[in-house]
Symmetry: C2
Subunit: 323 residues, 2 copies
């Protein structure tokens, strides 16, 4: 039985799924909700999952973080476009506590830091987690888990260098493992974020611009070549950033990253990306986390990726129109 | 009174407008029509124009080029996506006759040549014309001319070198001039085509991808920067092509081309581009004429423009979906 207490900030496709799994594993989990609060307080959370369905008729539902007990891990599973609200949404942390952001993109921890500092909050220990999962929220407290599910956790540090896994990170991984979720730690969270972007930049971005699923994009020879170009730019950006931050240490993405991502996508089910889901639902797109911050990091390192820049301007135009 | 006889192949926004003007100027004009044949045969052509409205209740309407007398100038005003039909649509030419393509893009004459040769037709003299005009077909034989109207005519030659204006070109210009249409000749048709592409590539292309008017695109700082990038690529491509075809002759676009195009667009009325109109009407996009041929010409000259390539793949994807 875990001794960790969790808060889930944002009980959607990601927070709902991983929170439910942690509760299933015996952890004390507290869910923060807004529009779904009444439904989840009354009926709990249901997960349809390729790894086994899960019904939690009773969960700790909160509509205000102030009603939560102090937690050891506050899991942030909001869209990055909501990070300006985070200072008001975090519960009290225990002395050993930390914030674990399960958000996509690059510079997510720096973004959270900036929002907390601007609102004069004390900075908690920040962890980042990458979720390799296809899941959707299909209704209040109703999650559909379609594929994958692995989670990779690393520590954020201000100088963006390697960071050994902490005891807290290992305890979180142990909880996930007991919940039947494949979980690992990484000692290089920023490079892990870059690596995930190799997928997210082309597929999230182009799925909105082209109004297409992963399968439709992969079936078109020209779009496939464009996807490859974008992936290569992200790899080049990551490696330039690694060399800039840690000169001479060979801090690079694996050589076969692009080919591996392309092959992976070919074996996937046709998939509407998270950015496409956001677009179709009229929600703001995570353009800064997926493209803006990585672009600025690349330029800082002396590399200006043109296809990423073009995609960034196109998506920003769509975003501006949503307002 | 002109001694030239004209055929208008494709009586739409461009062919309808310029054909009507030529008839107004006293030329013998024969219009080829398909779906609009009955309406135009019965009621003629009406032009609402900023340069003066025009009603031609009686015109020579044809649904088959075989019913036309031999003409001196066969004006091709079809979309370039219809060029495979051209061998069947051209009337007999007089001994001094020529085909004048008023189509947008680069490599249009080579495309026509290829289609005629493949279908074992004799190659006519080929002229190209660039129309700087905003006009729409709003109904059968009903043209709305919104802005501009100038036409620039040059001779095609297989080696893509300079070519002095011929007497026929000068006679055509004289007819247009008498029709109150500003008309000029150029001795460098390919470079004139490149120059027009500096506008057409970004605005036609992005208007479809972003679902936007020229005004909406210019109001967005990021898209404006993307437009500038695309324009600079077209200029670089044009100059690389000019140097490749005519080394050491300074065959280049004017230095201020990009700034002039941006300023021009700022003073334009909000405008739905021709490619956007095609897209909205479910017609195939002129992707090869506007992007494919220019891209291949640039690569032949050793320059591979990345933003144009990206836009090409995006538009080709939309085109493939239209089928």
């Amino acid at each position: 039985m875990s001794s960790l207490r969790y808060a889930i900030i944002g009980t959607g496709a990601i927070g709902g799924y991983y929170g439910a799994r942690l509760q299933q594993a015996g952890c004390d989990v507290h869910f923060l909700l807004r529009s779904d609060y009444s439904a989840v307080a009354a009926s709990g959370i249901t997960v349809e999952s390729i790894d086994g369905d899960l019904a939690l008729p009773v969960v700790n539902a909160h509509c205000d973080p102030a009603t939560m007990p102090p937690v050891d891990v506050a899991i942030v599973a909001l869209k990055t476009t909501q990070n300006h609200r985070l200072a008001q949404l975090l519960p009290t942390l225990s002395p050993r506590g930390a914030v674990l952001s399960l958000q996509n993109g690059f510079g997510v921890e720096a973004d959270i830091t900036q929002h907390l500092l601007t609102q004069q909050k004390r900075l908690p220990t920040l962890l980042g987690g990458l979720c390799f999962i296809c899941s959707n929220k299909v209704g209040p407290g109703h999650i559909r888990h379609l594929d994958y599910g692995r989670i990779l956790i690393g520590a954020h540090n201000v100088d963006s260098q390697h960071h050994e896994p902490t005891p807290l990170m290992q305890a979180i991984v142990a909880d996930f493992t007991r919940a039947n979720v494949t979980a690992n730690t990484t000692d290089d969270l920023p490079m892990a974020r870059w690596q995930k972007l190799v997928w997210n930049v082309p597929y999230n971005g182009l799925s909105v611009v082209l109004n297409a699923t992963t399968e439709e994009m992969m079936a078109d020879r020209g779009v496939r070549s464009l996807i490859t170009t974008l992936m290569e730019e992200v790899v080049t950006a990551a490696n330039a950033w690694g060399e800039y931050l840690s000169p001479g240490t060979n801090r690079r993405l694996p050589e076969d990253t692009v080919n591996r991502m392309l092959s992976l996508t070919e074996t996937m089910q046709p998939y509407r990306t998270s950015m496409k889901l956001d677009y179709d639902e009229g929600r703001r797109l995570e353009v800064e986390a997926i493209l803006g911050h990585p672009l600025r990091a690349a330029r800082l390192a002396g590399y200006s990726p043109l296809a990423m820049t073009m995609l960034y301007h196109q998506l920003s135009f769509f975003n501006a129109r949503l307002r």
